[in-house]
Symmetry: C2
Subunit: 276 residues, 2 copies
């Protein structure tokens, strides 16, 4: 029969703190083999050391406990691998993102603020094929691939040539998830098509900034446009639109991308300095 040890010993064996072991017991992730009914003392079996080690190592990876549980409970090696790989992917995406933002931040702090050209435009209402959904900000990349993939198919089939775009609700930005509509303009009498919606985009005034280059430093243009709008315009409510003038569909080089960021405003200011 296997030997049993107290929390303290188990802690030394596994390098998990006693508090942590209490916690894992409480949430049912790693329960001691037995608990003395009168004293409440926990007793762990030496065979549990291995599981505890696994948990500790996963936690060192900053893997959330629910996922740790999934790995620990996983019956087959396949689903373990899967959870693990998903976590690794997430971490790597995070690092890539971090690197991008740091780079653009460094520029922002050291360089003079790039003179961002802002123009004002009235965009009339128009009809479009649309793919809409409630999207997490983190997953916007893959969602766009999906949405524009579908729109691209329809466009190719119907021979539509137009600049596609997307409308992002405020919540998408402020709450990190919200309604997004990817759209492809069509004629006002366009017939519905399988697999996409037919949406009507309302007209209105917009302050528009052109972002050149990859999507990684979008934030900078957004920030600058936000500042500009705050300073010179009366803001309107409603989703912000992006128009993908030159995008992934038009060539492989992200440096050549051109995106128009359209911020809804109430009217066109009489002069750029009118409110400054």
């Amino acid at each position: 029969m296997t030997a049993t040890v107290t929390v303290g010993e188990f802690s030394r064996l596994t390098h998990l703190s006693v508090k942590t072991l209490h916690h894992y017991h409480e949430i049912g992730l790693l329960a001691p083999a037995s608990v003395d009914p009168s004293s409440g003392y926990r007793r762990y079996e030496t065979s549990q050391v291995e599981v505890a080690q696994l948990i500790r190592r996963l936690r060192e990876l900053r893997m959330p406990l629910p996922e740790v549980r999934a790995v620990v409970d996983a019956a087959d090696g396949g689903s373990r691998e899967e959870t693990l790989r998903a976590h690794l992917d997430r971490m790597e995406r995070e690092l890539a993102h971090t690197r991008d933002v740091v780079t653009s931040l460094r520029e922002m702090l050291t360089l003079e603020p790039a003179a961002l050209a802002v123009e004002y435009r009235f965009i009339p209402a128009f009809r479009a094929y649309g793919v809409s959904g409630h999207v997490e900000r983190e997953g916007i990349g893959s969602w766009c691939e999906f949405a524009f993939g579908r729109l691209g198919e329809i466009a190719a089939r119907d021979g539509i040539v137009a600049t596609s775009g997307a409308a992002y609700s405020d919540e998408f930005f402020t709450d990190d998830s919200g309604q997004v509509v990817a759209f492809l303009p069509v004629a006002p009498d366009q017939a519905p098509a399988e697999g996409v919606e037919l949406v009507d985009l309302p007209g209105g005034f917009f302050a528009i900034a052109v972002h050149t280059g990859p999507f990684t430093d979008f934030d900078r243009s957004y920030g600058a446009l936000g500042s500009h709008v705050a300073e010179y315009c009366e803001v309107a409510t409603g989703p912000i639109r992006e128009l993908y003038v030159v995008g992934p569909g038009d060539g492989p080089d992200p440096a050549s991308y051109r995106t128009e960021i359209c911020w809804p405003i109430r009217q066109i200011p009489t002069s750029p300095a009118a409110k400054g």
Copy 2:
């Protein structure tokens, strides 16, 4: 004079949620330009959009608020750059670590558990030059560089040739920070030296595992040794020792490193299966 806006508008302008703006007000990171004394309504100036944007972008980098505050309050660009760079470094270290552990985890899950050879040994008490300190687990790498750098100097000066090592208190592992002593064995009558202590390491029985290769998958050997000790030995209290048989000082190739991990036990088990 600059225009002022409500929280809601400011939220739309900056893509920070109202809740977040409340929070930043409360902690004094970004206070509104004015607060209506009767209604409590916050009013932000459009010129504050820029700071808010900066904060948002730093937060997107997962930079802790105290550091954000440091960047925002920084008078000169130099100290901004510094904080930024420190953060970037930390993130990259984290990723590298993540990658390492994932790799070794993948092995652990897919491969058969490597047959870890464990031997038992009585190590008599000995005297050593020591560098000790309370060390954070995160900073163990640079601390070791410092400690063994100093020990190396002394060794070179005195012509001492011995396998150096380090003793890690339990708290170092369980609490992520604790006492660590780097040591270099010397003769029992060794005279004290400037810049290092003279320490006496107690003798005792140890279960010893030899870890071959770089330090990145130390965890695996530790886990295996922990499991082994739990299964077959009576554990003793006291710090775990590492002996750097072949280490960074002996050659540039991490793959050739050899480290003995010494786990204190009460006595040598009569047979490996004695307790199994």
